[in-house]
């Protein structure tokens, strides 16, 4: 069953917490991964791989650069999850 927007944001919050140590409550849709959440370019790859597994979605490398905020990633996953 496809995840809801709320479930995706919560899932991304757990992933970002695991990778960058940011408290889950600070991971909000308007937050930038690099500027607000301490996710550097290499760690972003880890976030993407973890999100792919969790939400059963493929995120090609070329699309990763467009995922600047938690909201961008949430919309992408909502649209592409199988």
């Amino acid at each position: 069953m496809a995840a809801t927007q709320e479930e995706i944001v919560a899932g991304l919050a757990e992933i970002v917490n695991e990778i960058a140590g940011i408290p889950t409550e600070d991971v909000q849709v308007d937050k930038s991964f690099t500027d607000d959440l301490d996710v550097d370019s290499l760690s972003m790859v880890e976030v993407v791989v973890a999100a792919e597994e969790r939400f059963d979605v493929k995120i090609p490398d070329d699309d990763v650069k467009n995922l600047k905020t938690v909201g961008d990633a949430t919309s992408y996953i909502l649209k592409h999850q199988s």
Binding site: I19, A20, G21, D38, L42, S43, V45, E46, V49, E52
Partner: protein
């Protein structure tokens, strides 16, 4: 004094070793003659011929938060912990630039390891095989590269004069400190954070060193396994950890009123060109490094009262080093009290030169040299003054110097000299 021959001093020290999580606890354990060696009770060790090692007294996971630790190889974690201690010990309150007493453009790092991020490399190969390509960590390359520890410490302190990593197996840590001394001497930097680190306690390196017949297999007596110069010595015990010092031009240290532990006099270097792993048995290669030390530095062998030997507890190497000291220094060898702290720390490979430099500097500073433990029967071929059973008081008056020897597979010989101030 011209810019190409500046005096260099030690203003900070740091370590995390099998004996303690910092330099103070390490030093205290050395003077108490404690062994940092224990049994490897991990499942992966069960089938290995060698099931002992000198594991870090404080695991770095207790110090470095997980979000940062997962991007750092264990060797870089050790280096960072030791470097932070040394940096604070030198009296700096923040990284260069933020602390106005350090100019980032005049600050360097030279931190070496013998093997680099070997546990990262092997661990990620396991991930590749078990979980697939996509799961290989994107941090793998910066974690496994041997210059990773130096670069991470450079980022931590904001070093912009140069970040370097000389690699020469078990001489790496000392080669790093020698390189750092030269950077300051020649005017390229005012301060350099330098040392060695290693984290190779993993089944593959242990199997490989074990198959070379280089390691002690005294699995039933871990604490007695590392026994340099004893007749029953049967190979080295692998250790892990890091030793890092802050080197500074004497002028810069004086200007900011820094505490000075010792003068870093300089290095002597040579290569055996004899065999890829066997030491040259007559000690001629090592003697050449010792002579080079005297020829290229303002150092009188009459001043040298202590040698922290390389002595790893191997049958051949331990003796070659002592022969070399006699060849290079003649009768002056008689007033040198010689010890191997590897009897307690095990052999930290590329980290050894860092940790043993810390021990050598503290011996000068406190005027007491640690002993060699586990000598029950001294090898009868030995005709020099080996410190055993208890620490040795060094002369309380006058200027005294001490050496730290480090040699590595590949025939690398590096000798560092420090002197009281």
């Amino acid at each position: 004094m011209n810019a190409t021959n500046r005096t260099v001093v030690v203003t900070g020290i740091g370590a995390t070793t099998p004996l303690g999580g910092d330099s103070a606890s390490t030093w205290e354990a050395m003077l108490a003659g404690q062994s940092g060696v224990s049994s490897l009770d991990q499942d992966w060790a069960a089938e290995l011929p060698v099931r002992i090692a000198a594991q870090a007294a404080v695991d770095p996971s207790e110090i470095i938060p997980r979000p940062q630790a997962r991007k750092l190889d264990r060797s870089a974690q050790f280096a960072l912990i030791a470097a932070r201690e040394a940096w604070a010990d030198a009296g700096f309150t923040a990284k260069a630039g933020e602390d106005p007493s350090v100019d980032p453009d005049r600050l360097g790092t030279v931190i070496a390891s013998g093997i680099g991020g070997v546990t990262t490399l092997l661990g990620q190969y396991d991930v590749l095989k078990e979980k697939g390509v996509r799961r290989v960590s994107p941090h793998t390359v910066p974690m496994l590269m041997p210059n990773g520890p130096s670069a991470n410490v450079g980022l931590e302190v904001n070093a912009r004069a140069g970040v370097h990593t000389p690699v020469s197996a078990c001489a790496s840590g000392s080669e790093a400190i020698g390189y750092a001394i030269e950077m300051i001497r020649t005017g390229r930097a005012d301060i350099v954070v330098a040392g060695g680190t290693e984290a190779a306690i993993h089944p593959l390196p242990i199997a490989a060193f074990g198959n070379m017949m280089a390691m002690s297999k005294s699995n039933d007596d871990p604490q007695g396994a590392s026994r340099p110069w004893d007749t029953a010595r049967n190979g080295f015990v692998m250790g892990e950890g890091a030793g890092v010092i802050v080197l500074e031009s004497a002028e810069h240290a004086a200007k900011r009123g820094a505490r000075v532990y010792a003068e870093a006099v300089g290095q002597g270097v040579s290569a055996d060109s004899h065999d890829i792993v066997q030491p040259e048995p007559s000690g001629n290669g090592i003697a050449k490094a010792l002579r080079n030390l005297l020829d290229s530095n303002d150092l009188d062998p009459a001043e040298i009262v202590h040698v922290n030997a390389h002595a790893t507890s191997t049958p051949q190497g331990d003796l070659a080093e002592l022969k070399a000291l006699r060849k290079a220094f003649g009768d002056d060898t008689d007033h040198m009290a010689i010890s191997s702290t590897k009897s307690m720390t095990g052999h930290l490979l590329g980290g050894a030169g860092g940790v043993e430099s810390v021990a050598t500097i503290l011996a000068l500073y406190h005027r007491v040299a640690p002993q060699t433990i586990n000598i029950e029967n001294l090898d009868p071929e030995i005709d020099v003054d080996i410190i055993r059973d208890e620490p040795r008081k060094l002369p309380v008056e006058g200027r005294i110097a001490a050496l730290n020897d480090s040699f590595g597979f590949g025939g690398h010989n590096v000798v560092l000299a420090f002197r009281s101030v």
